[in-house]
Symmetry: C2
Subunit: 420 residues, 2 copies
């Protein structure tokens, strides 16, 4: 009799185990975006936080270690933990007054004139200490985890000076070390121009390249650098200067691209070998071609398009058909999308971006993992990968995006431990 | 020293107690729709399921009965329990395949041709017994309660014959008797034409008036009668025949009105003295005037407009300005809006219907209660009313609609008991 594989966690009776185990490596594109590689009536075994076995008939292959846990999924759907590839979770003030002003029909510029916008978040974050920011961020991460998200990207961008960008990224580091969720840090010093540089924009660009980015890199506080490339925010030249410096310091590149107007942001992201271009509500056909050719992930944020009730929706079907690898994220932030729930984003992706439930699942797991350079660790269920798993209150995977506004994550498992 | 009022529940430290206690009786209209009548730093005392006192300094006025509970809201918002004035919570099959077909761009008629639509729900409900329907509905009601809804209207309409309409309404009665949530039953035999009457529509109208409605009334199984008055469903004459009979049997009237096309449904509802006209995505100016003049509640269902991604949005601001009393509901059903969460509806009302957070709260409590003839029992916090309450994870009321996709109901109280 063959020796059995020892496991400290065994989940049995998975009605649908979404392995996403498509043989092709790298982010999924085209028809592959809808390939969930479902195993029915499956079990999955975990040891030391990693998947050691999956298949049917675990009694033939698996023996539970002493103290190990066996958990029945009772016929439910089991998927990889959701990956949220674009968030701004460290902030102080909430901004519900702007939410009301938008309902009253106020424009972005009217809200800014009334003292609203990113600058509200900058003022309140600068006043807050590490402890306050940690205390405010933790319940947000708890909510993410409770809704099935097991890894997030987390941006700075409300500090906009050396001290407060560093403070934000230190908070992200502490959260990563102390919270079950994994956080992948991005420095977004180029989120907006701070008030003290309103009349010296190039001076702020110099502050970023000469002080903020080097200080961040020296402390090893970020994996990626992001810039809000948009009319009235960072122009093309300023964006290029910041991202060239970031690249020279060894950071990967992300872009807030073509959100409100088509600035050629997607094409620039492709030319600079970014890992992702995010938002893309106004992406051009040329931008689509360039992302596809360069294999740059398009991180779509339907929650923001919904929350701001944007008139324009990105050409998502065209992007998928052109071979752009599409990922999803919440954009969780206090101004333009106050939600922690990737489940909500799965629903929004189907309802307003017309992705199928299968495409949305791949975009929120496998591809989202690639969008933060974790594609070989998470986002797929196969032997050797991290055991980040969700048991869903659903009989089939389509029910997860279909059933919205409530939490369908029954059990959330992070690195082999039940965390929610 | 004055005698103190005895209480079996005392909630202290309500940062904002939304009393909705506007001195005017009846549903709120115009500027009154935004009047929350907030008491800050308030307490609220309950005995035998009813509010016995509210105000500041409870130590001067209230004494807790032996075994009574004191609960601190710790500065949070406390509001009346949400009231969901339009739901279809008793169904068997889920319909996630139609959700996917819509994402793929299939039209209503293509989905129907592929075997989808209400008729799927009819076929599966007819096969299910009372026990199965109860077991399926209970978790839905649990989710409603958990998200802060304490009373719902519940429609039949997937039976479409005597036996199965009665069965559905019996299930609703049993749920009302056994679940903490209060359910107000509506017979919706006029939801669609059943397959066996496809070629004899007037025959089905006769079945409704001669058999279904009398059987329902005899058993006292419904308070309201509703009809789906729409092109291709019940025409004006059929709708009038059904509702006249319902009225003669002592039922209140509701209408699915002007949802997909303007049929003059709002005006008909006003002429027939309905309690509410629901949906109204395509309401005309005349319809608005008539609802306002007759004081008929407009029950808006932004979840459905969102879920079906309808091109047209109702003229909500015009309705409010014209003096139409506006209420909100989920429309919870397996085809066109699979959510139990009125919190989600608060957010949708602000984002896509441009209601303010205050208007949305009144529409989801006070006015929703009037839309189901419970305006003197619930939906307002004042002495003598039912103690249906929610303590929210929010510092101010705007944060509840602002923060979406997650559950902010921290404690839900039904008739003075903590139920979630």
């Amino acid at each position: 009799m063959a020796k059995k594989t020892p496991a400290d966690l065994l989940i049995t009776e998975c009605g649908e185990l979404l392995t996403m185990g498509n043989a092709r490596n790298g982010p999924r594109t085209g028809a592959d975006l809808a390939q969930l590689d479902i195993v029915n009536n499956a079990s999955i075994a975990v040891r030391d936080g990693r998947i050691v076995w999956l298949g049917q008939h675990p009694e033939d292959d698996i023996e539970l270690c002493p103290g190990g846990v066996e958990l029945s999924a009772a016929g439910a759907v089991v998927s990889p933990g959701l990956v949220d590839a674009h968030t701004h979770p460290v902030f102080a003030a909430t901004r519900e007054m702007e939410f009301e002003m938008r309902a009253l029909g106020k424009s972005y510029s009217q809200i800014a004139a009334a003292g609203g916008g990113i600058i509200v978040s900058v003022a309140s974050l600068r006043k807050a200490g590490h402890g306050e920011l940690l205390a405010l961020a933790r319940p947000r991460l708890d909510r993410m985890l409770r809704h099935g998200t097991t890894t997030i990207e987390a941006k700075s961008g409300y500090g906009l000076n050396v001290e407060d960008e560093i403070k934000t990224l230190e908070v992200i580091r502490i959260l990563n070390e102390t919270h079950p969720l994994d956080l992948v840090p991005t420095v977004l010093a180029g989120h907006e121009f701070p008030p003290e540089y309103r009349d010296d924009r190039d001076g702020y660009v110099r502050l970023i390249t000469e002080e903020i980015l080097p200080a961040v890199a020296r402390r090893n506080l970020a994996e990626f650098s992001d810039v809000f490339f948009e009319e009235g925010v960072f122009n093309r030249e300023q964006t290029i200067v910041v991202q060239k410096k970031a690249k020279a310091l060894g950071l990967g590149l992300k872009f807030h691209a073509d959100e409100i107007t088509d600035q050629g942001g997607a094409a620039l992201a492709a030319q600079m070998n970014a890992i992702s271009a995010d938002h893309l509500e106004c992406i051009s056909d040329n931008g689509i071609r360039q992302l596809a050719a360069a294999g740059v992930l398009a991180v779509l944020l339907p929650g923001t398009a919904y929350y701001l009730d944007l008139p324009q929706r990105p050409p998502v079907r065209k992007m998928i058909q052109a071979g752009v690898p599409v990922a999803l994220a919440t954009d969780c932030n206090p101004g333009s999308c106050m939600t922690e729930s990737m489940q909500m984003v799965l629903n929004l992706a189907c309802v307003i971006y017309k992705m199928t439930p299968a495409e949305a699942f791949v975009a929120a797991t496998t591809n989202a993992a690639y969008a933060i350079n974790r594609g070989r660790e998470i986002g797929i269920l196969s032997v050797g990968r991290r055991a980040d798993l969700v048991i869903w209150d659903a009989e089939n995977y389509r029910q997860v995006p279909y059933h919205f506004g409530v939490n369908l994550a029954r059990v959330v498992i992070k690195k082999g431990k039940v965390v929610s």
